[in-house]
């Protein structure tokens, strides 16, 4: 019998995979993709808690929708930044992005 616990555990595992990607990858685009996985995990949590704890309102689904909107904006701006840095550095390796270090 699948219940809230299983959905929350699925979201936790997905979030963990995303966290590992953020911490252990060196390509900036790979890090951005891992962040997307983490946002998806959060959305699963929102919808699952909405369905199983407060089933008579739709607020969790609405917040998941807002998360999707903000994620779309984040990806657009993040990829534009990466392309811009790539023009100057000829690399998307995060270890080459040290403009603000001395």
């Amino acid at each position: 019998m699948i219940g809230l616990t299983h959905y929350l555990i699925l979201a936790t595992l997905l979030f963990g995979i995303g966290l590992f990607g953020v911490l252990a990858k060196r390509s900036a685009i790979a890090v951005l993709m891992a962040v997307e996985l983490m946002l998806n995990a959060v959305n699963i949590n929102f919808v699952a808690i909405n369905k199983y704890v407060v089933p008579d309102t739709g607020v969790g689904q609405l917040f998941a929708l807002f998360v999707i909107v903000v994620a779309a904006a984040e990806v657009a701006v993040g990829l534009a930044l990466i392309i811009n840095i790539f023009r100057q550095k000829k690399s998307v390796n995060l270890h080459d992005f040290n403009l603000l270090k001395w």
Partner: protein, 171 residues
């Protein structure tokens, strides 16, 4: 122990989503990672469908599997200047990988343990079948200002992304 059809659908979709997500993180070729990312988004959309959140599942397919993944693949094609088999290597810094692995295991272990041993105040969901009506009522009722702000945010972000990507002209 009997498994109903809905449970079977959840198990298959969850396994598919987790495997493709692992593929995103572990593949060496970033194009393969991006394609795995699309499948992972589709799996999450299926998870929404098992929770009777049909509208959100459709938005997930349209926005994530459609728009965001195309944007990511486009950016990958624009910045690929080396052997594709080496585009998505793990960080060369060994402490980074160790820290990532340990933090992930710690976080997932602690969270799964605490979720498993917590009893949540679950209610039996009334099968209304009209989530879309509920959602639109909220969107154009209590949450109309956040909705408009979200639209404004998207506009500003897209215009900003265009200016960032093609470079502003200095006079």
């Amino acid at each position: 122990m009997d498994i109903s059809l809905a449970d079977l659908a959840f198990i298959i979709l969850a396994g598919f989503t987790l495997l493709t997500a692992l593929g995103v993180v572990l593949f060496k070729n970033i194009v393969h990672s991006a394609i795995m990312l699309v499948f992972s988004f589709l799996g999450v959309a299926g998870i929404y469908f098992t929770m009777h959140a049909g509208f959100l599942g459709l938005v997930q397919i349209l926005v994530y599997a459609g728009a965001i993944s195309v944007l990511i693949i486009f950016a990958i094609m624009l910045v690929m200047n080396q052997d594709p088999e080496k585009t998505n290597l793990p960080s060369p810094n060994i402490p980074n990988i160790m820290a990532g692995t340990y933090l992930t295991i710690l976080l997932v272990g602690a969270l799964v343990g605490s979720i498993w041993f917590t009893s949540f105040p679950e209610k039996v969901a009334p099968v209304s079948g009209d989530e879309l009506g509920l959602l639109t009522g909220l969107m154009l009722g209590d949450y109309v200002i956040p909705l408009e702000l979200a639209a404004l945010l998207l506009l500003v972000a897209v215009v900003g992304a265009i200016i960032l990507a093609r470079g502003a002209e200095h006079k």
